[in-house]
């Protein structure tokens, strides 16, 4: 049953997924090209100096891309469920409603993680061809919270769409913005302001713990609580 549910999800969002993947690739490639140009037009030691001493974040264009990706995938996947009340059918499938909702959500999360891994791997390979390992490491540690922000945004979009009550929707949107905003506190005015490396794991766990909240929204939806 889960298999066919996931296949249905794939049919629903495949084009959006491919589109989002392409957008991500375009941004990643543009980061690669601009770094290539930096090394073409400036002395390498100037760029090293910029990165090491002056907080030059050459991958800054990536910052809000995972967030946008998460938001759009969430909208595409869950808006069509709410539109014309298709979710009612999904919740009436011969499987537990909690497992159907969670598998839809985790399927979307999986696709996002796939896109994010592709982003991170390409930029890491590029970085490691120009810089020592320390800079690659700092890229991963600075960008990880941005990827988590993408996942968090997706989780909140999914539960906001399933939630039937408007007042609760608005409130959950506020809470969602709060969570996402926390994950962007490492870069202020294009400079590195804080480092998440000591709390990466905790924020990852927090993100995972946010996923089941969709069940409450689903419960409210099914019971018609407003």
């Amino acid at each position: 049953m889960i298999k066919s549910l996931l296949y249905k999800e794939w049919l629903k969002i495949r084009w959006s997924f491919i589109g989002l993947l392409l957008v991500n690739l375009i941004v990643v490639v543009s980061i690669c090209v601009s770094l290539y140009n930096d090394f073409k037009f400036y002395k390498p030691n100037q760029i090293y100096d910029g990165v090491l001493s002056w907080g030059y974040v050459f991958y800054i264009d990536l910052m809000y891309i995972p967030l946008a990706t998460g938001l759009l995938l969430g909208v595409v996947q869950f808006f069509s469920e709410i539109n014309s009340s298709r979710l009612k059918l999904t919740l009436h499938l011969p499987m537990k409603e909690s497992s159907s909702l969670l598998s839809m959500q985790w399927y979307g999360l999986g696709l996002l993680v796939l896109i994010f891994i592709i982003d991170a791997v390409i930029i890491s390979i590029l970085t490691s061809s120009y810089f020592p390992y320390e800079v690659v490491n700092s890229f991963l540690s600075i960008s990880l919270p941005w990827f988590l922000a993408g996942l968090t945004a997706y989780i909140f979009i999914s539960l906001i769409f399933v939630e039937p009550s408007w007042s609760r929707r608005i409130f959950m949107a506020v809470v969602g913005v709060g969570f996402v905003n926390l994950l962007f506190s490492n870069i202020i005015a294009m400079g590195i302001e804080a480092i998440f490396s000591r709390t990466d794991l905790y924020f990852f766990i927090i993100t995972i713990l946010l996923t089941p909240i969709i069940l409450l929204a689903g419960y409210n939806y099914k019971k018609g609580i407003r």
Binding site: N45, D49, E134, T199
Partner: protein
Amino acid sequence: MNIKSVKILLAAAIIFISSIYLPDIFWSTFKYKSDRPSVSFSPIVNDFLFTYPGKDNSSIRDRKGKTYTRDEYEAAMPQLNFAQLMFSGKMPDSVNGVKVDVPMMRKNLFQSRFEPSTIDGLNYMLNPLIESSSGRVNLEYPNEFFIIKNRMEIIDARTNSVNEEMTKLFTDALSKSGFVFPAKEAFGNPTTRKPYDEGYFVVDAKDQFFHIKRIKDKPFCKKIYLPKGIKVVHMNVHEIALKEFYGIFVTEDNGLYFLSYGDYKTIKLAIEDYNYKTSSIRILGDLFHRTISVNNEDSYSVFVFDRNYNLKDKYTGQLTGKYESAQGKISAYVFPFSLSILSNKTMFVNFFLKFIDFRFFAGNIILLLGLIGFFLLKKIPVNKNLFSIILVAIAGIYGLIAVLVIRDFFTSNNKKLEK
């Protein structure tokens, strides 16, 4: 997963997020400005002068309460305000019987700061290996960068590859002087905007201290003998024309030392109330004194040393703490605790929980009575909604928000109250 545990999860998420943002919004609305003065020592009146920043005019006072105008203040501090005094033609020829001139005062003036967030900050440990004796008048930014792991690796930025020849040369020099790899910390000024280069001061794996620099592509490595049991936490390297010291360092036992130039002697300064994890230090050096200000959350201490580093005078002042102000007292009643992920004590994100005292219980009780009143009004039995009651009792305003969002109450006939 049953609905009840999801509700607990959601309540936890709401409490988490509101305990971060609500106090934050509160404090940015009712901004608190500290009354911390900046303190300097006047060689003319032989006393501390306290400058309290004000909205229109800052007020300047000495310890006896005598106030100073800006002109009087500048005349009392010729070692800092020589440019202005020269401009207005009031520059004295001598201070306390010592003949002075502007170049001398300029050469002797320096500042240094130690902030907990730079001590616990970002450090790539990857630094440019500047040639300290290039034969050029200006320093040149090198292509070689170094990092000390299990050897002193020298990386050429042009090729992003290890320069094996130089690596071996420097690694051997370090081993020969007793360096234990890898390095824990490296301090220096990775810039060419300085009059000369003294390289780096490096702490090795066994907390020994070394001076490493590059002289005509050859390594210079000198072990620095520290007083027994001393561990260097952070060092500000000063490459200034004065050439009296290499820099200033703080140690794990909260000591402050100068490292004298040429002979590597460590000079301990008799300061108190310093904790490198929480307090910040500002050092002002001038022709006559070394003035050290140690700033703590609710107090500040100032120590004045003569040029032989003997303590000449000191002063400790108390400040009205943030939580003793009117808005601070209100916040103590309203917020049971507050959470922050950023701190000015470190560059690393973490969960910083701030708990003031138990005054918040008064606030919680008022909110709780409000909730019970709401229950009675809507004829909701209190004893069947203990989860909500407990949330508000413990987490106060944050709990109330969670309860109002989840708003899932049991009515008397055990049916869910809809709407």
